[in-house]
Symmetry: C2
Subunit: 302 residues, 2 copies
Amino acid sequence: MSLVHFPPVRVETRLNTYARSVDERLAELLPSDNAAPSELHAAMRYSCLAPGKRLRPALCMASAQAVGCALVPGAVLDAACAVEMVHCFSLIHDDLPAIDDDDLRRGMPTCHVKYGEALALLAGDALFSLAFEVLSFVDASPVKVVRAVQSLSKATGSDGLVGGEVMDVLAEGRVVSESDLDAIHMRKTGALIAATCEIGGLLGGGSDEQVELLKKFGAKIGLAFQIVDDLLNETSTPEQLGKAAGSDRERKKATYPALHGVEGAAKAARAMLHEGLSHLRPDLFEVSILRDLAEYSVVRLN
Amino acid sequence: MSLVHFPPVRVETRLNTYARSVDERLAELLPSDNAAPSELHAAMRYSCLAPGKRLRPALCMASAQAVGCALVPGAVLDAACAVEMVHCFSLIHDDLPAIDDDDLRRGMPTCHVKYGEALALLAGDALFSLAFEVLSFVDASPVKVVRAVQSLSKATGSDGLVGGEVMDVLAEGRVVSESDLDAIHMRKTGALIAATCEIGGLLGGGSDEQVELLKKFGAKIGLAFQIVDDLLNETSTPEQLGKAAGSDRERKKATYPALHGVEGAAKAARAMLHEGLSHLRPDLFEVSILRDLAEYSVVRLN
């Protein structure tokens, strides 16, 4: 199955450039493991600096560029790091024995395997807190900072990321309709990616109309992205993924591949990508980077 | 041992009045358990609406009154609820088997005993997120809202609440000096109570000087409060406390009673109360309610 229909080098180079800036800034923003409590800081750094594609931060930065930023402003880079911290917090907690009980993440032992359950739980909490701290200190007007914090907090709560995780856990082993599944994905993955793009556009100086469209774009890309993630879980090896593979099927998780098969799920992901891209009106956005990234994030199925 | 040296009815009536407003507002702010994911919302409501003294919210509201608010503004009430959500989040996570493994809280089964570990973990996360959401939406100028979010996030992260919990866990069974113990308490309890008073003063319209003093006041009251909590753990029954008693000694937890005995610890708590109250300069504050509350919160040892 090969769905790549754009020059893969260009977007990967771009993604790497973004990822390098994010990794450097994350290393500065995360507390030093020389400072007390050093064990906690070490666990936070371990999980948050583990090699990752930094797709969410990239979408944040590309959203700022889509509304006209030639260079990514410092406020956007910091917001992108805040989003990555939220993502890492959610991975740490989801990997815990009480939830998914996963041993492998980003090709390394999960946080609780490395540091124990108590420290992993609290490292997740501390990353979540740090995300709001970093976002509340970004160099932007107070009006924009407040809107960014509102957006991130709404995206992470019971109507967003955490609520989606709960619905996902409760759906295991149950028969779930496509609309139920969309509701899960919208919270679990769509909400944070929507907020990511919204915040990138907002702090990048976008108009209300642009910011609203970026949020809609992100929500759809998030849905597509989740389907692709589930497809990769179904069709890859742990070595390829850097995390458990085939585990969704084992746990009887509600997924698009389970509902529609591999081909049907891939088709649905492409349709959502298309729908997302339709929000990037060429009269309002410099679309190229963001479109390439969205396509790349969805079309990793080669 | 009786340390009550003020008319107990007056302050308890005041505390009850505050608590009723907070309970009513919390019931509105917490998502309905009729809405999906209803299991999560039920767990959030269960833990956050369980009967509590609402001491932190009361200190927040009393701080606003200390800077001259005749009535408590809506923004302060909402901020007080946000602080209580953070407190509940931390109780839920601390009670989990991976940390304190407690079965009883506020006289009821702990969240994970009632709803299972996965849901309790995620209910804590969702309450933490909701705290930032509520605070970011309070009816105040964006400059003040940003400062409030900065204060809360700094107080809850690795240099505050969560960091203190880690240090507390790591100190179990070890010999800990008084200065180490103060560092733990400053983070674990002092930081959030300091932020609570700071935010109450800030959103109540206090000057920078007043807000700064309230923060210092809260930090000391927090330290005193933690010592009293540890004293009660040592000297009460589970029925009196509504949670496990004697558990600190069992776990060889680092506490003031362990370090200085019951009388020595009570003396230290009184000294910290005194130090805290010294920040409430009568030329700058309407001190009466706040002083009574601080004394009450520390002097529950009758």
